[in-house]
């Protein structure tokens, strides 16, 4: 806690596009009152100063090389609460797609005969490296959800992240189900909380917020097969943001 009694918070980035941190900046423009109750001590995207005595750490980005791990562990050591910010930190995100190809091939594709110069490994969520207290899902995170999570943390409450499928929000919005229009959508197994933006604009949900705790995978598979998808098609749409989780599921099943 700083001398003015405000909790100190810090933002960190790993492998990511920094879109979640940009969303944080936007959300603070809508809710400048939040700056009266916290002190931001580190936020590379927004400020030059750097403080190391933070209580809450928000981490954007996945861990994509071994040498990122000590930095993550140091953040865990310092912060009382670590929050994963967005799909890359929460799930591994699109970075984890490279796990679908042999690592050497990926490196050679990008760097040619200089591939050996570059350190990398399969991208993973930060929870694969350190204990994470909470995750704000999404690609990018939702502005309002970020504010409500920070408010909950300041009150000592558990952040209100939904654990029900996107279809709930989609139905509340009165949208016509995309399956009835011949489209495919991962809404039935995806965590709600974004307000079903993509289906509301006629685009399929790609599970950027990750799966709910107990998705009905068997039923989902039947729906997708009924929609005419092959096993390869299902694998493709299931691995856009959630390659790491799908691989974990496969490993658990042996």
């Amino acid at each position: 806690m700083s001398s003015n009694g405000k909790p100190k918070i810090a933002f960190f980035d790993f492998t990511s596009c920094e879109g979640c941190q940009l969303t944080v900046i936007d959300s603070l423009q809508d809710h400048p009152e939040l700056l009266n109750v916290v002190e931001i001590v580190q936020f590379r995207e927004a400020m030059t100063e750097k403080g190391e005595d933070y209580q809450i750490a928000f981490v954007e980005g996945s861990c994509s090389r071994a040498s990122d791990e000590p930095r993550l562990k140091k953040i865990r050591q310092q912060a009382a609460i670590v929050v994963a910010l967005g799909a890359c930190a929460h799930l591994g995100g699109v970075n984890a797609l490279k796990a679908l190809h042999p690592l050497d091939e990926v490196r050679k594709y990008v760097y040619g005969d200089k591939a050996d110069w570059y350190e990398t490994y399969d991208a993973r969520p930060i929870s694969a490296v350190i204990d994470v207290d909470y995750a704000i899902p999404g690609c990018p995170i939702d502005r309002n959800e970020f504010i409500s999570v920070v408010k909950a943390l300041l009150l000592g409450k558990k952040p209100p992240i939904p654990d029900y499928p996107l279809c709930v929000e989609c139905k509340l919005k009165g949208n016509v189900c995309l399956y009835t229009k011949g489209q495919v959508c991962l809404g039935p197994v995806t965590r709600a909380g974004c307000g079903a933006i993509c289906p509301s604009f006629g685009a399929s949900c790609e599970a950027c917020r990750g799966f709910i705790t107990n998705p009905n995978d068997n039923s989902m598979r039947e729906v997708l097969i009924e929609a005419g998808l092959t096993v390869e098609d299902i694998t493709s749409i299931y691995t856009m943001f959630t390659t790491y989780q799908v691989r974990e599921k496969i490993q658990q099943k042996g």
Partner: protein, 485 residues
Amino acid sequence: MAGAKAVDAVYDVDPPRTEKMLRELLYSAYFVADHTTHFYALAGPDFVIGPDAPIVERNILGIIHKVGLEIGGKVILARKFGHNVIEMIGGKIIHPCTSIPGGLTKGITEEQRQEIEKMGHWAVELGHFSLKLFEDIVLKNSTYLDLILGDIYTHRTYYIGLVDENNKVNFYDGKVSVVDPEGNRLGKYAPKEYTDWIAEHVEPWTYLKFPYLKKVGWKGFVDGKESGVYIATPLSRLNAADGMATPRAPEEYEKFYKTLGGKPVHQRLATHWARLIELLYAAERWVELATDPEITSDNFRTIPTEKPTEGVGIVEAPRGTLTHHYWTDERGIATRVNLIVGTTNNYASLQMSTNKAARALIKGGKVNEGRLTDKGNPFKKLCIQIEKASLGGLSLMEKLIDADQTIIVDAIDTHQFPKGTVRIFKLKDLPDLNSGHTASIHDTSLANAIEVGRLICWNLINIFQAFVVYLPAKQSVLMLSNCAI
């Protein structure tokens, strides 16, 4: 946006006019929001408040203090309006979700159009206001003008930028125009021809690659007509075009070159002025598109009929030309992807600017913090520390704690390279010759020392970026006596 165009190309489908206008409208609003933020919150404070002012004053709050409270409100409103348009057309501000092969998932209503038009008129006013502010504070001050025209921030490179069929600046569509350091057009390329024009160079000390002009070739971090280094920025877009196509931006375009001594302008600080001219252009384009009778048409998608294969999409991002190249299988699932994102185009030039500015502004190892963090320096947070070390192993490792990147310059006789040449190695590539021991029984090799430091959880996280420059010694004896000083 480049991705959306690349997907159209993958499916070989030409979207209807309304769709193209909607995407360009979204993009114009995005440019207004981004350019406003870049100027007022990131770069402008250094200019408006002064390059030698203390860092703590050089931010958006400092601008509010100097120019007045209403400017802060304008910046926030520009972002809000820009974001409103993006949300209306794209669903999400970051990673819009409405683009599909051949078009968009939805169009806009007449009610939305009116709202968009109203915000556009406000944005045009903001463009004029910003250019006036730049003129009053910067151009009428000879110190600033000298700073812009000075040599520290000048590089004579090639310039690229997207242009329409009349060679006028366009952010969304057209061909990429390439001009040489004398302002002569080397040619124009369509998106699918980009591999004939652009190649990528790699260096061991960075993950980011260095795109360069293939036809000229990579000659290292140097400028001039023989070097393939180019930039893709607001400045380069103006240099690569013959003018602008909206009502009032052309006057500002002409004034820019008249004031700065003709085309092309090589002074990198002029980028901020160019950015404000682009801000006005984007706002005017926003209004043009919002008032087109076809913008509310329902014809916002062409259903693709071809099998997906391969495609390239190019647009201008606020900080550079954005190229997306996708290859897919017959289901449209991506099998390969190549992206050249905005700032990457400018990476070589950024290195050169940093180098030149550092040489000019750091004297005897002393850093004038004001100048080093001003917008003239491409890396605002640059802090270079130079240390002489006579010992290796543990004591050298202790000097590396908390550094973002380390360069170790050493001299050694390897018997492998000609005497006096410079070689660059990554630390991990060097042999750990005596199995981790040095001559002293209390010390160890640098590689071992770093391992020890990491075990104690010291901040040696970026040591993998450390690289070693070897200057093979002409005489080993001389080297030893120098090291003993």
